[in-house]
């Protein structure tokens, strides 16, 4: 079962994409919702809003534990990547701190600067997948053990570290579920 964090943000688009692939998925709003899950998607949205809700409903520690368990696969997109990062800037804020990277919020500017572009993930044999950068963040620095899985115009846009995959863009807004399919194939043999 794949959980999709549903406290705020683009969780519906992820759920729809996963359902297109015929894999079971559920919304995660409270800690007990994680019990049935062996994989988790942290969607885009507003990271400040999500943090307030994660703290108010005691989800910070359960999510951290879930991410630290190497058997659980985690995919984080946009604000989700901000939640995972060890260090967040512009402005500085709290996070789950499980992914050793520095990430800058709203690094491209306001909505006017949002853009769509094709990206490739060579490690997954994924070529020219349409994705969407919406008020997107940027990875500024990567810690030891963090691998780059995608980049665009010189910026690192996707990383993987142990059981965690984090990207600054939105693959879930594309009609084609190819990105999620590739993530599942390459990371989640145990997910059913």
């Amino acid at each position: 079962m794949i959980g999709v964090l549903a406290v705020q943000g683009g969780f519906q688009a992820h759920l729809k994409t996963i359902q297109k692939l015929g894999v079971a998925a559920r919304e995660v709003r409270l800690a007990e919702d994680l019990d049935a899950c062996s994989a988790l998607i942290l969607p885009g949205g507003e990271s400040t809003t999500m943090l307030k809700l994660l703290k108010a409903f005691n989800l910070m520690d359960p999510l951290r534990q879930f991410c630290l368990n190497g058997d659980n696969q985690v995919l984080a997109t946009c604000a989700g990547a901000i939640l995972l990062a060890q260090k967040v800037v512009h402005p500085e804020q709290e996070s789950l701190g499980v992914l050793p990277v520095t990430i800058e919020r709203n690094a491209y500017g306001c909505q006017r600067e949002s853009f769509e572009a094709p990206i490739s993930v060579p490690a997954w044999q994924l070529v020219d997948q349409p994705v969407y950068f919406i008020r997107a963040p940027k990875f500024l620095a990567l810690g030891p053990g963090v691998e780059v899985i995608s980049s665009y115009e010189g910026d690192i846009t996707g990383v993987s570290y142990r059981n965690l995959t984090a990207v600054t863009y939105h693959p879930e807004l594309a009609e084609d579920p190819g990105f999620h399919q590739a993530w599942l194939q390459h990371n989640t043999q145990k997910v059913g």
């Binding site: 885009g44 949205g45 949002s114 939105h170």
Partner: protein, 294 residues
């Protein structure tokens, strides 16, 4: 190929606001309070609807320096309102980098026949709608998000409920119609045929559908979410109440946990005074904001 300003990017930002609360603010301080309470975005205004209603006069776009101050104070998206049909106010907001433009009936209309041709802009627009026909007319002009109009500044949710129910029941009706009925239906509701056909086939609006207008309590927010709203706007309801930051945080929690009555009960406790509401029947016809829009 890198592309900007596409419909997918415009509706994409609305997707990211889902399950969130967009709060009306008139100062940078209020914007900070809204962000600290968990707002997913703020709407920068010169006056909240309750004050526009009380003070009268022509209500216009906020001055750019106020919007700049609000943008500088927060990291979440900042929206602002323009008068219906006032495309130059929209050009100004786009040039100062506003994240979403609300072509809003809360302000005094600048054009009593036409809305803005929103396709000309890279910045996404949200528009109010009372029914399906109005929603589809706005979408065909380029709106990337629809919200109920409700009756702003009243603290009375009844009109938002009416508008959400009429949009959803018209969508349901449309999905069970025969294809031969669609042309006449599109003529009846004054909506473009292609969009009517799209809704007939898909059973939903082609853009996200939010609630606005008269929401004042966590229960109001949860009501609109249970009726099918994907996020909520709260205007005067927060900063016209006794304890703005407490109420704001409670409405944020209620919007996430809209289907969980135990949590709704808990967050509804000890919020202080709600804004004093107005009964719709006490408002003179000329001051009904929901009737603005064509």
């Amino acid at each position: 190929m890198k592309e900007v300003g596409t419909l997918k990017l415009k509706t994409g930002l609305a997707e990211m606001l889902k399950g969130g609360v967009i709060m009306d603010v008139v100062t940078a301080d209020q914007a900070k309070i809204a962000e600290d309470s968990g707002a997913a975005a703020v709407m920068a205004l010169e006056r909240v609807p309750a004050d526009i209603r009380a003070q009268g006069g022509v209500a216009r776009m906020s001055p750019p320096e106020l919007i700049d101050a609000i943008k500088a104070a927060v990291s979440i998206p900042v929206m602002a309102k323009v008068r219906i049909g006032h495309f130059v106010e929209a050009q100004i907001l786009e040039s100062i980098g506003i994240d979403y433009i609300d072509e809003s009936e809360v302000l005094t209309p600048a054009d009593e026949t036409n809305h803005i041709w929103k396709m000309d802009f890279k910045t996404p627009f949200v528009c109010g709608a009372k029914n399906l026909g109005e929603a589809l007319r706005r979408i065909s002009e380029g709106a990337a998000m629809i919200r109920t109009k409700g009756e702003p500044g009243t603290g009375n949710v009844v009109e938002a409920v009416r508008h959400m129910r009429s949009v959803t029941s018209e969508i349901k009706k449309l999905t069970v119609m025969g294809r031969e009925e669609l042309m006449t239906y599109s003529k009846e509701i004054g909506a473009p045929f292609e969009l009517v056909r799209w809704v007939h086939e898909n059973g939903k609006l082609p853009v996200p559908n939010f609630a606005a207008g008269g929401l004042a309590t966590p229960a109001d927010a949860a009501l609109m979410m249970q009726l099918g709203a994907e996020a909520v706007f709260v205007g005067s309801g927060i900063f016209k109440s006794g304890d703005a930051s407490r109420r704001a945080a409670a409405i944020v929690k209620a919007t996430t946990h809209y289907n969980n009555p135990a949590i709704l009960a808990e967050v509804s406790k000890n919020l202080g005074e709600a804004m004093v509401g107005i009964n719709i029947s006490d408002i003179p016809a000329a001051q009904i904001m929901a009737d603005r829009g064509w």
